[in-house]
Structure formats: structure tokens, C-alpha cells
């Protein structure tokens, strides 16, 4: 309520300034060289966008009733060790692998400049990935939280391209976090937007730019105010940060540990800039600075309705990041198998040599090891069993073996691996992020 008033006020002030300074019909000729005018322009842009969004995008048409939220866990029908997918999972997998091969892989090199064509996101939206995480009662298609399905989707998308996968899956990570930890009001307000005809970018902001970053010791701080909270801090490696219309920011709430805050990106005090990193440029990794950002009480993830566990959030995201590594490592493995079979040296394919063949065998063995640990952690999470240890170990293994596979992928191609004509150097750069990412993709 109060926030709305503030915004309306600031809009009025801005428009008033505008007419006074500009003299109306010369607006077109502004080239915004003068600092004063630039300020005014920015101010107006902010307010207009803010006004639009608050009124249109994230509105609850219906409030989730108790019992309509996604079930938190499912027990398997039969108590059996099982590695087979459900029918739906298999159908989604077939679809996504096709999409990964036909749409993502050919695009991977072009989007290295960070510009992803809009129609890619249209296609992603048609796949309805986020839809599966939204409860049926509010126009979604989900009935139960399924970390395993999340893992499979991330794996298959990353098989196409990890960078695009992160971009495409950022709404799913947001949706999953909200269905896991959001109050019914929050879910009702934010989730329906993800079931529409348009791709809505949304993201998670957790990481902070310093060496030895510890996701449990955040330096971004939320201070309680009369109206809500005031947030200050710097976040980095926020996928789709710049494009996202809404994000969940994690900050230390003194006395209450680390908590999430749902914030729409237009809020005054938020500055977002694109980062330049070793890889993952298509993911739109952004740095987001929060400077005295005032949010209402209702922004607190889960409000007083849902118990928030920071560890659980981190663990679900560890599994998500592991899943990404599986897909990209599988891409490397499949690629070097073909390459080693075709590349002739000393009169025969290099795959005829144990030195090369054994490297490939080890890549496959370690990848399958990573997969087993990731699936087990996800399976336990899905069944409502404890999974902290399993997620911790999976991350430990994936962080290390992933890079081994990445670097050996380049090694097998030799000099060809080092040049951009082949994708292995791209995967090498992407895979380096696996040991770094935290909180990036909640499954």
C-alpha cells in the first residue's frame, strides 16, 4: 500500500519535472547529454515500468487454498531400487533431447555474444518447463514437487548448451523455490504469470563476489523497517539478472538467519549490470547491486506461513547444478567418441590406442558415477527423505570430475580442441562454473 503511494508520488514528480524542463514537443530531440535530463529520463522510465508491472504482470487471480499447493514429496508405489523413468519423464526427455540437439546445439556458438534471439525463449515457453512446477489450481500443470524431473530437464537442456539451459531454466528455478518455500499468497501472486503465452524471466540471486564465498554467510543484509525491509548488498552470477522481472534475493535477516525476499526488478535502488565471465554468456549472468532497496513485509519468502530452510534451498540447488554438469559432460563424451573414431593418426583412428580409449572409458565411468550420486540425492529429496549428505557428496564429486571430463575433452582433440571451431573449448569454459555455482538452479 505504502509502496504504491511512494511510486505514484515519484511518477507524478517525474512527469512534473518533465514538462517543466523540456517544453513538451521537443522530446524527440533529446539526446540526453545533459546530466539533469538524463536523470529525469531514467526516473520516468523507472516509474512507468514500475507502474505497468505492478498493475499487470504479477497479480493473483485466485488464491491457493490450503491443500492446493504442490505436495512436498511422493513415495514410490513399490519399494524397489529402480533406475527407470516414469512414462511422463521419458516423454519429456525425448522431447527435450530433440530440442537440445536441433535448437540449442546449433545456437550455442552464436549466443556467445550474450544475445539470445527472442524466438528461442518463445520456443522454451512452448515446452512448458516452468508450467510443470506450478500448481494446477492456479493454471499450472503440477501436482507434486519433483526434484527428479527437474534434474532430468536440466540434464537434457545442458546436453544442448549449458549457457542456454541456465537462461531457459531460470524461471523454473524461481518457480521451484516459490512452490517449495513461498506462502500461498506469494504463490498465487507470482506463479500464474509463468503459465502464459509469453516467456517470463525470473531468477535467484544468492552468490556474492568474493573469493571463498560461503552461501551460509551472506553479507547482503535485510534490515527490518516499519513498512518491511531495507536491503543492501551485492549479488553476482545471477542468471538472466538483467532480463528478469522478478527475483528471489537471499540476504541475512539479523536474528533470523538467511532469508529470501521476492523483489520485482524495477524497484528503486536496484542496479543490474551484465557480467563478462569465462563462459555462460548466453545465461545473462548479472551483477545486481541493492542500495537501500525498500520492500514490503509481504516480500519475505514464506512470510510467517512457511518454515524456510536455507540449507534445504542450497541443497536443492546443488542437485540442480550437478544435473547441469551431467548434460554437458555427456555432450563432451559423445563428441569425443565420434571424434576419436574418425580422427586418423599413424594410419588408424586414434580410438584404436589405449591411451585415448582408456581416457574415454574413464570419462564414461566418472560421468556415470556423478549421475548415480545426483539421481540418488534427487530421489531422496523427492521422497521426503533427508538428502543433505547426498547432495553434499554429489556436489563434491561433480565439481571435481566435471572439470576432469572437460579438460580431457579438449585434450583428446589436441590443438583442434583449443580452437573455437569445435565445441569442446566452449564446454571446458562452461564446466569450470560447476564447482562455483551455488543456489543457481533449485530443482
Amino acid at each position: 500500500m505504502e509502496l504504491d503511494t511512494i511510486m505514484k508520488k515519484s511518477m507524478n514528480v517525474t512527469l512534473g519535472l518533465l514538462s517543466r524542463v523540456s517544453g513538451s514537443e521537443r522530446v524527440k530531440q533529446w539526446n540526453l547529454r545533459e546530466p539533469a535530463l538524463n536523470l529525469v529520463y531514467q526516473g520516468m522510465r523507472h516509474s512507468v515500468r514500475a507502474g505497468n508491472l505492478v498493475q499487470s504482470r504479477f497479480m493473483a487471480k485466485k488464491t491457493l487454498k490450503p491443500g492446493e499447493a504442490l505436495a512436498k514429496s511422493t513415495k514410490p508405489k513399490k519399494d524397489l531400487f529402480d533406475l527407470s523413468l516414469t512414462r511422463e519423464q521419458q516423454m519429456v526427455r525425448d522431447e527435450l533431447i530433440k530440442f537440445a540437439k536441433q535448437e540449442m546445439r546449433p545456437l550455442a556458438r552464436d549466443v556467445e555474444n550474450g544475445i539470445v534471439p527472442d524466438n528461442f525463449f518463445d520456443q522454451v515457453n512452448e515446452l512448458g518447463l516452468a508450467l510443470s512446477g506450478v500448481p494446477e489450481a492456479i493454471e499450472g500443470a503440477g501436482t507434486v514437487r519433483s526434484p527428479v524431473s527437474g534434474v532430468l530437464m536440466a540434464e537434457d537442456m545442458a546436453y544442448g548448451d549449458m549457457s542456454l539451459a541456465l537462461a531457459a531454466l531460470s524461471p523454473l528455478g524461481f518457480v521451484n523455490t516459490l512452490t517449495e518455500f513461498g506462502s500461498r499468497d506469494q504463490q498465487s501472486q507470482y506463479l500464474p504469470a509463468f503459465t502464459g503465452e509469453k516467456f517470463i524471466a525470473a531468477t535467484i540471486a544468492l552468490m556474492e563476489p568474493r573469493a571463498r564465498f560461503n552461501p551460509n554467510k551472506l553479507t547482503t543484509v535485510a534490515v527490518p523497517t516499519n513498512a518491511g525491509y531495507r536491503i543492501n548488498g551485492i549479488k553476482c552470477m545471477v542468471p538472466m539478472g538483467k532480463k528478469s522481472e522478478v527475483m528471489i534475493v537471499f540476504a541475512l535477516l539479523p536474528g533470523h538467519g538467511n532469508r529470501g525476499f521476492i523483489i520485482e526488478s524495477h524497484h528503486p535502488g536496484i542496479t543490474t549490470t551484465l557480467e563478462s565471465n569465462m563462459g555462460l554468456s548466453a545465461a545473462g549472468m548479472s551483477r545486481v547491486v541493492f542500495e537501500d532497496v525498500e520492500v514490503p513485509k509481504s516480500a519475505l519468502l514464506g512470510e510467517s506461513e512457511v518454515h524456510y530452510s536455507h540449507q534445504r534451498m542450497l541443497d536443492l540447488a546443488k542437485i540442480g547444478v550437478c544435473a547441469l554438469s551431467l548434460g554437458t559432460c555427456q555432450a563432451v563424451l559423445d563428441f569425443v567418441i565420434n571424434y576419436a573414431n574418425e580422427r586418423i593418426a599413424f594410419g588408424e583412428p586414434i580410438s584404436n590406442r589405449q591411451a585415448v580409449a582408456f581416457m574415454i572409458a574413464d570419462m564414461a565411468i566418472e560421468l556415470e558415477s556423478m549421475r548415480m550420486l545426483t539421481y540418488r540425492a534427487a530421489g531422496r529429496a523427492e521422497q521426503g527423505l533427508s538428502f543433505h549428505r547426498e547432495a553434499y557428496l554429489a556436489q563434491m564429486m561433480c565439481a571435481q570430475r566435471t572439470m576432469q571430463i572437460g579438460t580431457n575433452g579438449v585434450q583428446i582433440l589436441g590443438g583442434h580442441g583449443f580452437v573455437c571451431e569445435y565445441p569442446v573449448e566452449l564446454w571446458y569454459r562452461q564446466l569450470r562454473a560447476i564447482g562455483i555455482l551455488e543456489g543457481t538452479l533449485v530443482v
Partner: protein, 405 residues
């Protein structure tokens, strides 16, 4: 539905095996490491216990090892099964947590039993039931290259005449039967290799030597000489005819079922080492609770987690291979993956545990040094690490043994 938890029913089987390992094997573990070549008579009692378990359908016996042919032929049946292959690897893992040398010399549980279970006719199965069967493949000049064995079998009337020398025969002295690999015609290469069942005491078969070893000392490892050893014609396993396309592959198929079992041995021993190491480090005030980022925990904590992760991966790969066999899925690649992973991490872990526990690890007061010696064999027998890599690589790269040597 993806679920990598062991079902309750199997957990109970495992718990039973674990208590046997703890109550019967651990107390005599050091004794038979010291007294190599002395038969552990304590195991005779176990034989009857195991027989009981098997009759109850939860056996750990080698007989349980087979591709489930029923579900293979009726591929329409989509019901997932956790069957005998999974039970066998689980049991073996738990038993080897107690002692792997003793596990290898449990009466009636030889590798030969696995071969008989896999390929014997029903008449043969009846004749050999309840008997302990060893497996004799390796020769002085043929180890990993099992296709180049020199032992021969010649048909003379209604009898096979066997000649040759077999080494590294596990249970070679103690078993009731020995399954001998021999060639019908060396000029025909691997296709002519067949396996034959020889009963203990058959004239012409003699145990000439027992090895002294680095580890698994409780298990006897024999050299066997065959000198015009005559056995009945129907003691051949599989067909007499030489099919250059199929025969050897048939013989090798046994390995798809036994490799996950060796992986289980390795996982069992490494689990024992890691359990004790954690206990000894606990006494020094170290706690392992999976808190703290990878970049701020102590080196020793990090080492423990890394080993745990590798061990868990090996265990899951082992179950995967066994699960595939239980559900009639071809698992040659996965069986080798499981053994490659388990063999190497088992050995690494046991050796590292000795180091982490320092003088206690190296001392014979504890079993850590013994496990570090025992574990080496799991990366060697039933196909060395390198042979497993070769199998996996050939499958991945779709290579024949001619192309990828």
C-alpha cells in the same frame, strides 16, 4: 520411478549378512591372515546357515547369479524386479565388510558355482548341486589374455582327456569341483575354449602348490596340474561344437554376472576401512557432519568426504549392474564400469585410510593394514582395471578386440 534406495526387504537380508560378518568373520579375521593355508573350520557352520538362507530365497550364493532369462523373453512384462543378483552383491558387500579372504572361501560359494549356475544343463545342475566349485582359467602364460590358454581337452571315447597347468585357482585345494578352461583345438582360437567340470580326487588332477600372498590369505590359491586327466563326456559345460561366432562370448558372459560381485567385495572392504578410520578420527575429536563449504573444511574432512563420494558411486554402479541383470537388460558395459570404479577406489581408499590413521593404520593391532593388502586383488582378479577399461572402451567406441587391442 527413479529410486536408488535399497528396499526394506533387501536391507533386512543385508543386515543379516552384516551380523554374520561382524559376529563370525571379524573375530577370526586376523587369525587366518596369520595362518595362511589353514582351513578356517569355523566356516563349516556357516555353510549350513547359508543353505538355510538360500532355501529361504534370500541366499548370497553364486547360484543366484544369472541373467533373468524369463523377463528377457517376456520383455512385455514391465514389472521392475530386485532379484537375486542384487541380493548376492548386497550380501557379498556386507560379508566382505567382515573379511574378504574368508568370504572367498565360504564352502559352496566358488566362482565355479557361478559358471555352473549360468551354463549347466538341468541334468548337470542336479548332479553338481550342493558341491563347492572352483574356477581355473589362468595359466602361467595366460592371465588377462584368457583366449590364449594352453590347456587342452581331447575326446577319447566317452571321456575327455585334459592336459595343462592352471595357476591362481581360488579354492583350488578346498573345493569339491574345479571348472577347468581348456581348448578343444588351439588352431581354432578362442571359439574352441570350453569349460569342464572335474571332481576332486579324479586321477590325473593334482594340486601342486599353494601361493603365499599379499592379502586375502584366508583363501587358498592353488596351482593345479592336469596330466591325462579323464572325465566323463557330459562334464563339459555348454555345447561340444565349436561355433566361431558365439562360443567364447558365451564363456565370457559369466563375467558380466561375477564382476559386480567382485565390485561388491571391494566396496565391502573399503567401507570397513572408512568406518574404522572415521571411528579412530572421532576419538581425536574430529566430526563429520557435511557442513562447511568445500573451501573451508579441513584437509582430512575433505578427504573423508571425497572417499565417501567415490565409495557411494562404486556401490551404486554395482547395484545398477546387478539391477540390470535382474531385469534382463544386457549389462556387460555396466558390469565392467562397476568393477573398474570399485576396484580402483576400493584400493585407493584402504591405502589412504592407513595413511590417515598413521601408526595405528600401519599396525597389526588394527585391521586397516590388512584391508589395504586385501583390497589390491579386487582391482586384479575377474579382469584387471585395465581389462575393464578395455571392455568399457570397446563398448563405447564400438570396437572389436582386433581394432582396440
Amino acid at each position: 520411478m527413479i529410486n536408488l534406495e535399497i528396499p526394506k526387504k533387501l536391507q533386512q537380508v543385508g543386515a543379516m549378512a552384516h551380523s554374520v560378518a561382524e559376529g563370525m568373520f571379524r573375530p577370526i579375521s586376523r587369525k587366518y591372515d596369520k595362518f595362511e593355508h589353514v582351513y578356517p573350520s569355523e566356516l563349516d557352520m556357516l555353510r549350513s546357515i547359508l543353505q538355510g538362507m538360500e532355501d529361504g530365497g534370500t541366499g548370497m550364493g553364486a547360484e543366484g547369479l544369472s541373467q533373468d532369462k524369463k523377463s528377457k523373453s517376456k520383455s512385455k512384462s514391465k514389472d521392475i524386479k530386485n532379484g537375486s543378483n542384487m541380493a548376492v552383491v548386497l550380501n557379498m558387500m556386507e560379508i566382505c565388510w567382515g573379511d574378504s579372504g574368508l568370504a572367498l572361501t565360504i564352502p559352496g560359494q566358488g566362482l565355479g558355482n557361478a559358471a555352473i549356475a549360468a551354463v549347466a544343463t538341468s541334468e548337470q545342475k542336479k548332479r553338481f548341486t550342493g558341491k563347492w566349485a572352483a574356477m581355473a582359467i589362468t595359466e602361467p602364460d595366460a592371465g588377462s589374455d584368457s583366449a590364449s590358454i594352453n590347456a587342452t581337452a581331447r575326446l577319447d571315447g566317452d571321456e575327455w582327456v585334459l592336459n595343462g597347468e592352471k595357476i591362481f585357482v581360488t579354492c583350488g585345494e578346498r573345493a569339491d569341483l574345479v571348472v577347468i578352461w581348456a581348448s578343444l583345438d588351439k588352431s581354432l582360437g578362442r571359439a574352441a575354449i570350453k569349460s569342464f567340470v572335474v571332481e576332486k580326487g579324479t586321477p590325473g588332477m593334482k594340486v601342486t602348490h599353494l601361493e603365499k600372498k599379499l592379502g586375502i590369505r584366508a583363501s587358498d590359491t592353488a596351482t593345479i596340474i592336469l596330466d591325462n586327466c579323464r572325465i566323463p563326456r557330459n562334464n563339459i559345460l555348454g555345447s561340444e561344437s565349436i561355433d566361431t561366432k558365439k562360443s567364447f562370448a558365451g564363456v565370457m558372459q559369466t563375467f558380466d554376472n561375477t564382476r559386480p560381485v567382485v565390485a561388491a567385495m571391494s566396496v565391502g572392504v573399503a567401507t570397513a576401512a572408512l568406518d574404522l578410520t572415521r571411528e579412530l578420527l572421532n576419538r581425536e575429536g574430529m566430526r563429520f557432519n557435511y557442513r562447511g563449504t568445500r573451501f573451508e573444511i579441513s584437509t582430512i574432512e575433505s578427504e573423508i568426504y571425497r572417499m565417501e563420494a567415490d565409495l557411494e558411486a562404486a556401490r551404486l554402479l554395482m547395484f545398477k549392474a546387478a539391477w540390470m541383470a535382474d531385469n534382463g537388460k544386457p549389462n556387460s558395459k555396466e558390469a565392467s564400469m562397476a568393477k573398474a570404479k570399485a576396484g580402483r577406489v576400493g584400493n585407493e581408499i584402504t591405502l589412504r585410510c592407513v595413511e590417515l590413521c598413521g601408526s595405528l593404520g600401519y599396525s597389526e593391532d588394527y585391521l586397516l593394514e590388512k584391508w589395504a593388502r586385501d583390497s589390491k586383488i579386487f582391482d586384479i582378479f575377474e579382469g584387471t582395471q585395465q581389462i575393464q577399461q578395455l571392455v568399457v572402451a570397446r563398448r563405447l567406441l564400438k570396437k572389436s578386440s582386433k581394432d582396440l587391442k
